[in-house]
Amino acid sequence: MKFRAKIVDAACLNHFTRVSNMIAKLARTCTLRISPEKLNFILWDRQPSGGASTWCELEQENFFSEFQMEGVSAENNVIYLELTSENLSRALKTAQNARTLKIKLTNKHFPCLTVSIELLSVSNSSRIVTHDIPIKVIPRKLWKDLQEPSVPDADVSIYLPVLKTMKSVLEKMKNISNHLVIEANLNGELNLKVETELVCVTTHFRDLGNPPLASDDASLDRDPAEMVAVLVDIRKLLPFLAGQQVNPTKALCNVVAGRMVHLDVLHEDVSLQCFIPALALA
């Protein structure tokens, strides 16, 4: 198993740092999947009640000027690692005025992902910061749990409003209840609703737009104004929204009635998918 990669471009480095910061906000530990073309950050909430999972994907050639890897075997040319996401984001934080950044898999006193940063300094002297991030290599028998989740056929697919707005709405709603009803239809309408015995608060979004559905037959015999609803835990959705520091190029919400919400967000060349299982509708 071998892995080494290098970033020299400041913009790529910033972008990579942003991704790692976002990952650190979402979960304490993450799985890093390294394959010849792609890097994936996989967040898997292992709660018995059914946790949200997030799949973040970046094309390596958009970030790295050099990228070499050798997986477990020729057929399985991929590496799965588990690491503390905060460590990676902290390590990258020190790379703000870096000349180069190298990431490699090492085994110093324990298996680590070594991030080595050559800093620019005023005096033109060389300064090097090295962070050894402890990792766990994930054995092959556990890989099956870490496959890219298949995207279910959505009942309604709708573009999300500005994420910052949605986040502030949800933050207020969280004070009322943890259970959020997401309702959407094919007319570009999205409702976010919380309910208690005393009060029911709904925020309505209009004219959001729907992407063309893949399966036309399903939508044909359905009234476009008909709302499809799903009940989710607001605490699973909020961190995902809070993690988005910039508004993405594309943000899509796929609702599978009564089963799950699939959020699909694209930031330039980083794709982020979040799967939040539904709670039973009361």
Partner: protein
């Protein structure tokens, strides 16, 4: 005692208090003929810090009223710090700060003269105390590192705030290495990230230490000194000896000097994370003169030994004159401490993680020679 600080020096004084407050809970304020000294020591006696502000630092400096002895006092750091808490406020509004201490009043009076004629008076109750003085001698430290505070400040920046200790050493190619120190116990399960900063020799004004030399000390106190030194834009000198002996961090200019004496870690096991194979290992030289039970405790325990020799002086003699006692007391005659319990006290916890300074008092002539060895260390496994 009466002194008056004006203008930007008020902020300098405030900054010094801030950095002292990272170390101890009590502040020892001692007016001397060569300036006002502020000192503190931490609760486990593993770190000592002192600032000396020269008479020129003040607009007016009067160490004692004529015909009176020099007074000294000990106050709560918290209450003194609260006066200087907001440095921005000090800079913007305070024009003058008067500190006075006299026999008749039972308070240390700190007056801040602010803009628009506002005057804030703080009366701090104090305790009489002995003079606090760590025994250290720059000349006895063979190794010296000196660099602008900014360089060192940038060097510690990548380390997480929660990190307790760093190892500073000289690596291959005479590069100065700072590395996060990990305790050995943290085996297999929860490994923390190890960060290492490597700086070229050219960034240092002085680098006088062999390759492979390294010391481990607490980062928090070091950060405290650095933040002061950075604001004053002064170079920091680090004088050190073998691991286990105290390291002295000092800054100096014409108006003030500061010394931070920090205990360094003595590793018993051959260090796994040494800087190079030639690491020079010190076999606890200071223990030889101790009584047997004490030594046994030491030898059998995982000693993180951090030691600095300390002493307190009583009496009005100019206590700044450093006695020429070596850092680690050899023959244990003068270091007797009237406060410390005699050595084999039943129920004394074994000095498991020994991070203590030597505290002794030189009541010089009146002292009983060579009593039982005092318990010099209190157990202080603060980090758990």
């Amino acid at each position: 005692m009466k002194c008056v600080v004006t203008g930007s020096n008020v902020k300098v004084l405030g900054k010094a208090v801030h950095s002292l407050s990272r170390i101890g809970d009590e502040l020892y304020l001692e007016p001397l003929d060569d300036g006002l000294s502020l000192r503190t020591v931490n609760s486990s006696r593993s770190a000592y810090a002192c600032f000396l502000f020269a008479p020129l630092f003040f607009q007016q400096y009067q160490p004692s009223t004529p015909g009176q002895d020099l007074l000294r006092c000990k106050i709560l750091m918290k209450s003194f710090l609260s006066i200087f808490r907001s440095l921005a406020m000090l800079e913007k509004t305070v024009e003058k700060c008067c500190i006075s201490l006299n026999d008749r009043s039972s308070c240390l009076v700190v007056q801040l003269h602010c803009k628009y004629g506002v005057r804030k008076t703080h009366n701090l109750s104090f305790q009489d105390c002995e003079s606090l003085q760590a025994v250290f001698n720059l000349a006895s430290c063979p190794h010296v590192l000196r660099a602008p505070a900014r360089i060192l400040g940038e060097a510690v920046l990548p380390f997480p705030p929660a990190l307790a200790e760093v190892t500073l050493g000289i690596g291959r190619g005479r590069r100065v290495i700072l590395r996060s120190y990990q305790e050995e116990e943290a085996e297999s399960t929860s490994k923390a990230m190890v960060t290492e900063m490597s700086i070229g020799e050219e960034d240092f004004q002085q680098l006088q230490a062999p390759e492979g030399m390294g010391i481990t000390f607490c980062l928090k106190e070091f950060r405290g000194l650095l933040s002061f030194a950075e604001s004053a834009n002064l170079p920091v000198s680090i004088h050190f000896d073998a691991p286990g002996r105290p390291a002295i961090f000092s800054i100096e200019d014409s108006l003030l000097d500061g010394h931070f004496v920090l205990a360094t870690l003595l590793e018993l096991d051959p260090p796994t994370q040494d800087l190079s194979s030639s690491k020079h290992h010190q076999p606890m030289p200071q223990l030889q003169s101790h009584s047997t039970p004490y030594q046994d405790n030491f030898a059998n325990d995982d000693i993180d030994s951090y030691m600095i020799a300390m002493e307190t002086t009583v009496g009005s003699e100019g206590s700044r004159a450093l006695p020429s006692v070596s850092l680690m007391p050899g023959p244990h005659s003068e270091e007797e401490d009237n406060e410390a319990e005699p050595s084999p006290v039943p129920g004394t916890p074994p000095p498991k993680k020994f991070r203590s300074l030597f505290f002794g008092s030189i009541l010089a002539p009146t002292h009983s020679p060579q009593g039982p060895s005092p318990v010099l260390a209190e157990d202080s496994d603060g980090e758990g």
